[in-house]
Amino acid sequence: MADTDELQEAVIKGDAKAAAAATQAALAAGVTPLSIVTEHLVPAMDEVGRRFECQDYFVPEMLLSARAMKASMEIVRPLLAASGAEPIGRVVIGTVQGDLHDIGKNLVASMLEGGGFEVIDLGVNVEPRRFIEAASSRNAGLVALSALLTVTMPAMKTTIDAFAAAGLREKVKIMVGGAPVTEQYANTIGADGYSESAAGAVALARRLAAA
């Protein structure tokens, strides 16, 4: 499968044009849309995550890879929808109320999408009510909260408490992350999981989706 190896290569190198071309070539050669995701995009983004962990890659390289992955997903997504394939999970993601930072949140959203999740990105400064509405209306099993500032971290707790108050806490798994967030804080506020990095967030989301 020379063509699909090229796809992995293109995503790992962060070459969006090559990724789109390799995706088209793979489809033309009869590779199914689902296996493009599971056998090529997911392993490629796993490799990107591994390189990030090893400090071979930093945020810029991950962003380029995420963009290349998206170029492929844009071709594959309509085909997947038409074939009725289900994503491995649906995630509502956003930066919590009062916080306008989106670099980390965007990266995690891209990595989750590359990891086979359907991602509903609510953007920045998201009120608890909007997380709840999106999770209920889209039937999402996962909610991912981001905060960059110590002063906006408490909005994570507010959001988790709002899910509980709405009687929906048992229906969703809530994961949290962002520069000042720690495992200890995640436990304190009753989150279901914490990840230190975007790559780790994908592994965490898979665990939570399977739980």
């Binding site: 400090q55 890659y57 930093f58 945020v59 810029p60 390289e61 962003l63 380029l64 963009r67 109320q97 009062g98 916080d99 306008l100 930072h101 989106d102 670099i103 965007n106 500032l149 110590t150 002063v151 906006t152 971290m153 408490p154 909005a155 707790k157 520069a179 000042p180 720690t182 200890q184 804080y185 304190t188 506020i189």
Partner: protein, 286 residues
Amino acid sequence: MSRLLEWLENGLLITDGAWGTELQARGLEPGALPDTWNLTHPDRVEAVARAYVEAGSQVILTNTFRANRVAMEGDLDAINRAGVEISRRAAAGRALVFASIGPTGKMLMEGDLAPEQARDAFTAQAAALAGAGADALLIETMSDIEEARLAVAAARTTGLPVVVSFAFDSGKNRDRTMTGATPEAVAAAMVEAGADSVGANCGVGVEHAAPICRRLRAACDLPLWIKPNAGLPKIEGDAVRYGTSAESFASHFAALREAGASFLGGCCGSTPDFIRALVRARCGSS
């Protein structure tokens, strides 16, 4: 001799500590934009600046970190000018005022910000800060060398001394910026960009600052600006606390001066008490 070197003729200068938490202690809502207070609550902003001057800060910053037009909206010209005026009033000639310029919050390489947009935003902010009488411009908490280059070029058009400082908080050893830049790469690029001083602020805590300071020192001859966090934030109940006390923060004074710091202060989690402790540490060690 450059103005910056003249200021440093008598040795290391002690700068200030965090502003955001001090403003919150005076009623700023968590998550609200501190910079807007320059227009709505100038007296409370001035109280923070004055607390640092009284603690012994020889250099204070301005409450203008986010006031570039990519990062926030509003009458930024007025916010920036008021920010400098407030700090100058508080300094009253007893401290220098270095006006703060933070990052845009967008990533150039992600393509949602054109280099010209970043350059124009920094140029407008630098002009407003310089016009209001700042002594120098401080570009701080940068992650991306390319964005910092644009900011330094914009700041240099004012003719004021330009300090540029990066946040080293990534990688296994916490010695890279978010974009993966090493102290060596930062130093080389900022010398080339024409900065008058380079440094490290924020990051992951004072205990990581000395090694980074030494590496910057080895990589260039510019005066070094060092302003670390007071450790990592911890949560106690609903409050966010930083792990390092003023005394233990100041216990790093000698090591940081030894490592080559010319300007020394604190970032997130530090207070006027931290500055008082640094002043005491300097008296005790010189």
